[in-house]
Each structure stands twice: as structure tokens, then as C-alpha cells.
Symmetry: C2
Subunit: 401 residues, 2 copies
């Protein structure tokens, strides 16, 4: 097998952890696998570098930030290769540049443009383990770039796609993807498999295992992802195409996002362009609007409800101040949360949403907003009922079985 | 003026120090100078990286060590450029690769092979201050290399030579080159000028301001060096060609090296090839023999005296064990030191060495060995008289005037 293994910041967070990573990589190589390793910076290192820069300038130049931040992964990359050599393995450390990763020039959040397979395959053919500094690349002009949050995952997925790896393993400090947050529902179960689309919904709903950019890229490049822990030997969760998820459960997981606030614009003037004006103003203020619900107008008036991150509530109020004349009332509620169920099986099953509504109704939990997609149902409810709702739905869809 | 300024590890040892460096660079730019800045890693950082590697492997692969160690200069390079931008200057950070520095492939002690001027001049023409990560380069194959001890000085000198800079300023935590160590003789005076050759002698005799490799390269490329402190605004010491040192003092400095031991091989068989055998054996054992004195033979026997670093005394004894049959006696003395006077004026003055001998004799200091070069006289004496001898000679050659 040709495997890409990516180790995150906590997995390489100390000399001892780096040695443990090397042993895990060596085991895979000893099994006969060809292995490419992608590493993040030691946990905390990147934040320390950012702190130093911010002590010098509140707006450090992004080109220089990239040179600064890319140094952390070079350290772990070199140390991991040294640890592998110490175990008798034949390892070579490669920077993003040496691995051939070319990006655009948008510093601190560059997009990968090209990953040629040859710079890495060359070393694999020579029987070497290639250890690659994640999170970084260079532009066609030779400037150093970084890929932003979750950048090392992106590096791993892009490389796995380029060299047509059989598997891309993402090692973190959690065992995989769970049916829901085990801290809320101790009956939560680790999923063996989940489809790209379900993972995308769960990630955007607050599951922190993988970032959307990496899952999207994996889906596009048809890279089989496995997320698992570097702290034990348990099997993780395979994230793959829907066709390879044989069971297609109706609901794969329940997610809770407590950082939500709700805004209601009551009796807004119901004419074309009003919504564009409102959400245009919010977009200009860089506010991330999540759910939007518009109820049917009456008397030339309509109600507009939407949710935003709690942290952006004050900004939202400021951005909407000018719309005071065009509506009757603005109401804001920062004591709400969003509960969602996700599952590819929904597409072919009816009554999924109905079961959600009735389950919550049975416990007298009032639903404030509803939003659905092909494989997801989200509801906004009072925040104090968030955990309870998760447990109710986890049981209602037999996720603990 | 076109100036290269190099700042060592203590000069960029903290965020506050980096800000101070940026201010000094900005002042030069504001005066109208074109400035290239070369920075070392923050003091301690390189050693920390080495420690981490040694915790993983006693013999880390040198290629990976270079990737590891080169990260320290990238950090200070980026931070210095950020600090300059914060002051309103137009600065760009360049890695060794981006500055075009090409080396051979001898990892951890690579030699610079090529420094094209264009990658740096391009930015200067655009009115930018180029901030360059010292100590590093890449091979023609794209591997990262480092230049070994004093590598950032080498980077600065090589760049100054390539772009034909008017001056290469080496900033450290000392004010310049002194007539002798001020901790031994408080009347020691900072020299305004000194020739390359004198500096080379002083450096090899233990003065720690500059390393020989950098001075040699400066001499070869005809780069005017200034060594000065980044902690104050005092003028430093200009190191330049002998022709530019108008005064040509008979003696410029007095140096003391206390880490010396003496070996005496008494009544060695006096036949061709004996010395080659003895010093060949020492060379094979990687022992650095310094002074060698052979006294004229008698009865087919001769005496050989030489000095070695104290730390290599035991090794020397082991290496010479097999010569026991070919000589009467071996004697070792690890309680000696070497005192030297250096000055280009010696070439044209007689009686310089005689004054040294008589000055020491007046104080009853016995001379054990003598070695001279065109611009240097060294004597080996008992270690306990080292500091006294320095003060006597400092006065004897009027260095306190």
C-alpha cells in the first residue's frame, strides 16, 4: 500500500511524541507499505511565532508572516526524519518547496495550485520514507506561502491525490468521527465509515476533527481519508465516497453548535432587493450569516430570521442600524443554539425530519427555526436545551445501537 | 553608500532587541544609504534546536540538521523585516535561497560557491531594504545547507563582495577589536583600524570578535569590515587592507591563549621522516598541533617541542605511545600558555622580538618556546605568568598610549 500519514501538532508536540510517531511510521514501512509523512508544527509553536510578530506589529506583512510561520513545520519535519533514521529507516525530510508544492500568492491563506508527483515518488522509488513539512508551499516566483488553518491536512490530501495514495491517514488526538460529542452523550459511538458529504456537513456544524477544505479536496481528488488517534492503535473513521459507504444510515451523527445568535427583522418592507440590501450590508461587515428563514409576506410586509455567530452579534446590530425605518422591529436573541442531524440515508427515506420534530415536541422543546438540506436537518432552539436535544435525537435515531 | 549590516544572535536576542535593530537600520536608510541586513538566529535558539536533535539521535543526519538549524535565521529574518515595515520602511525578507546563495553539499559546514548580485540588487533598486537570513544557502540540487560556526558573518561578507558594498558592518555585543583583552588589562584600547592579516593572527590567537573564515573571505573579496556594538553608537574597528592602515603600528595587539599544553620529545632519532611519522600520527588522531620547535641535533639525536590544545593532551599521549622506542623521553606540561604580539609594522622594524624577550626577562619570566611569523611573535611561558606577561607587553609596546 501507498500511504500518506499526517501528524498534527499534539502528535509531534514533544521530543517523546516525535519518537513515538517515528515508531508508528517505521511499523508501517516494516509491513511493506510505502509511506509519506506530513507533519504540522509542534503544538503551540505557531502561536508563539504569531505572538512574537504581533508584539512587533499589529499588522505584520503577510509575506514575512509566511516565512516566519513556515519555520515551525521545518523543525518537526527535520526532527521526524532524524528520529526515523535513528530507528534505522531510510528517511528524507522535504520542505514544501522540495516536495514541489506550488501555491498562489495569497499569503497566510494560499491555495495549492500544483503538486507534481515526481519530487516525492522519486524518493519512494529509492526505498525512502519522505517526511514533508505541512502547511507550506512556494509561489511560482519562489516566495514562501502558508495555507492557513488546517493547512497541513490540505498538504497531506493534495499529496495523496498527486501520488495516487491508497489511503491518507490524518492522525490527531481523537479516535475518529463520533455519532455526537462524547462529552454530551456518553453513548456516542465512533463511526467506522462516513461519506465525504456527511463529513462536510458535520464539520461545518462544529465537529472539529477535520476542516472542510481538506474534506472537499479529498472528495474532489477521490482520496480515501482516515482520521484516527496517534495516541493509541484503535481503528479510526474512514471518510470516503457515498458508494463505498454500504450501510447508508439514515442519520450518521448529531451535531450541536452553541455559538449561535438569532436576529429577527419583523415586518420588513416586502419588495425586490430588500434582502440583498440587508445581507449585503452584513457581508460588507464580514459577518458570517448561517441559516436564513423568510416567512411569507402579508400586507406587503415579511419577516426575516437569520442566525449568526454569537461573537458577531454586536457587529450585526451596528450593521443593521440603518434599516430601522424599513421595518417594524428588530429582535435579537443570543440564547439560542443549533442542533443538526446529518445522514446520506435521508435522501431515500421520508419522515426523517418529522421524527426530529416529534421527538423534541415530546420533551416540550420549542423549535424557533428550521433549515434543511438533502442530507441534513438543522433546528434552532433555546440554548439551555442544546445538550438535552442532542441526547434525545441520538436515541431517537438509534445512534447508540 | 551601499552598506551590509550583520546582526549577531545577542543583537536580535529578543523582540525588544529586534525593534532596536530595525531602528538602527532605518536610521541608515534615512541617511540615504542603501542597506542590506543579514541576521543570525536569536541567541540560544540554534543551541536549543541542536539539543532537540541530540535528544533524538546522537548522530543526526547532517542534511536534516541543516533543514532544522536554518529555521532559526528565518524567524529573525522575518521578524526584522516586519519590524522595519512597522517603522514605515520598505523591507523584504529573503531566505538564503531567495538571496541566491549557492553552496557545496557539505552539510553543517558548507562552503559558499556563488552569490549572484542580482537577487539582492533587484530589491535595492526598488528602494527596498533587503533582510537576509544568514548562515544558510542551498546546493545546486535545492538542498538546504548551513555554513557552520560564524556562518552569518560569512553570508554578510560574501554578499558585500557580490554587490560591491562600500562597507560590511558586523554588529555584536562588543565595541570592536582591542589592543588586548580588557578583562586582563584595563588600559586596553579599542583600535580604530587593523589590517586583515593582523586580524587573522589575532583571531587565531584567541580574539573572539571575528572568525578567521570571514576575515579571510573579506580579504579575498576586498570587503571593508567594521566590527562594532549594536548596543551603543560608538565607532567600531575598521578591518581593511594594509595599504589603508596608514599608521602601521609596530604592535597592534597582545593576545593570550591559556588553553595550551606543551609536549617535548627528547633525544629523538634524527633521521629523515621521523617528524613526518610523529606529526602524521597526531594528524590521524585529529590533534591540532600549534607551535613546533626543533632544536639542532647532536649525536644523531634531536629534541622536538610542540604545543597542542590542553583538551587534546590525553589523546596526544595515546597517539605517541608507540614512539617510546625511538627516543629517550617524552615530557608533557599542561601548565603553559601562549602570549603573542601582532603588528604589521614588525616587517619594517628590527628589535621587536628582542624587546619582548628583555621585557619578560626583566620580570624573571622564563620563555619555554618561541615562534615567529612576519607579523607575529609568540612565546610559550608558564601559565601562571600569562596575565602578567600581557600587561608587561601592553606597556612595553606603548599600547596604552
Amino acid at each position: 500500500m501507498l500511504i500518506v500519514q499526517k501528524y498534527g501538532g499534539t502528535s509531534v508536540g514533544s521530543i517523546e511524541r516525535i519518537k513515538a510517531v517515528a515508531q508508528r511510521v517505521k511499523r508501517a514501512a516494516d509491513r511493506g507499505d510505502q509511506v509519506v509523512v506530513v507533519v504540522s508544527a509542534m503544538s503551540g509553536d505557531t502561536n508563539n511565532l504569531i505572538d512574537m510578530a504581533l508584539k512587533i506589529s499589529k499588522t505584520p506583512t503577510t509575506r514575512e508572516m509566511d516565512m516566519l510561520l513556515s519555520s515551525g513545520e521545518r523543525v518537526t519535519c527535520a526532527l521526524t526524519a532524524i528520529a526515523l533514521s535513528e530507528l534505522g529507516a531510510n528517511a528524507i525530510a522535504l520542505t514544501g518547496r522540495q516536495a514541489g508544492i506550488v501555491t498562489d500568492g495569497v499569503h497566510t491563506k494560499a491555495r495549492i495550485e500544483e503538486v507534481p508527483s515526481e519530487p516525492i515518488l522519486k524518493h519512494l522509488r529509492e526505498g525512502k520514507i519522505a517526511v514533508i513539512a505541512g502547511f507550506q508551499g512556494i509561489t511560482r516566483d519562489g516566495d514562501v506561502t502558508t495555507l492557513g488553518r488546517g493547512g497541513s491536512d490540505l498538504t497531506a490530501v493534495a499529496i495523496a491525490g498527486a501520488i495516487k495514495a491508497d489511503l491518507c491517514e490524518i492522525y490527531t488526538d481523537v479516535d475518529g468521527v463520533y455519532t455526537t460529542d462524547p462529552r454530551i452523550e456518553d453513548k456516542a459511538k465512533k463511526l467506522d465509515r462516513i461519506s465525504y458529504d456527511e463529513m462536510l456537513e458535520l464539520a461545518s456544524l462544529g465537529a472539529k476533527v477535520l476542516q472542510n477544505r481538506s474534506v472537499e479536496l479529498a472528495k474532489k481528488l477521490r482520496v480515501k481519508l482516515v482520521t484516527r488517534s496517534s495516541f493509541n492503535d484503535r481503528e479510526g473513521t474512514l471518510i470516503t465516497s457515498e458508494e463505498e459507504c454500504m450501510e447508508k444510515p439514515i442519520v450518521s451523527g448529531v451535531a450541536l453548535d452553541k455559538n449561535q445568535a438569532r436576529a429577527s427583522l419583523i415586518r420588513v418592507e416586502d419588495r425586490p432587493g430588500v434582502a440583498a440590501e440587508i445581507f449585503g450590508a452584513l457581508a460588507s461587515a464580514a459577518i458570517n450569516v448561517d441559516m436564513i428563514v423568510q416567512t411569507i409576506g402579508r400586507d406587503g410586509k415579511t419577516n426575516l430570521d437569520f442566525t449568526i455567530p454569537s461573537a458577531e452579534l454586536e457587529q450585526t446590530k451596528r450593521a443593521l442600524k440603518d434599516f430601522g425605518g424599513a421595518l417594524d422591529k428588530q429582535e435579537f436573541d443570543d440564547q439560542v443554539c443549533k442542533v443538526s442531524i446529518v445522514g446520506v440515508g435521508m435522501k431515500s427515506h421520508s419522515g426523517v425530519a418529522a421524527r426530529l420534530f416529534s421527538s423534541l415536541a415530546k420533551e416540550n422543546i420549542n423549535i424557533l427555526m428550521i433549515s434543511t438540506s438533502e442530507i441534513k436537518v438543522s433546528v434552532v432552539i433555546e440554548r439551555k436545551y442544546g445538550e438535552l436535544a442532542v441526547r434525545i435525537l441520538h436515541a431517537a435515531y438509534d445512534l447508540d445501537k
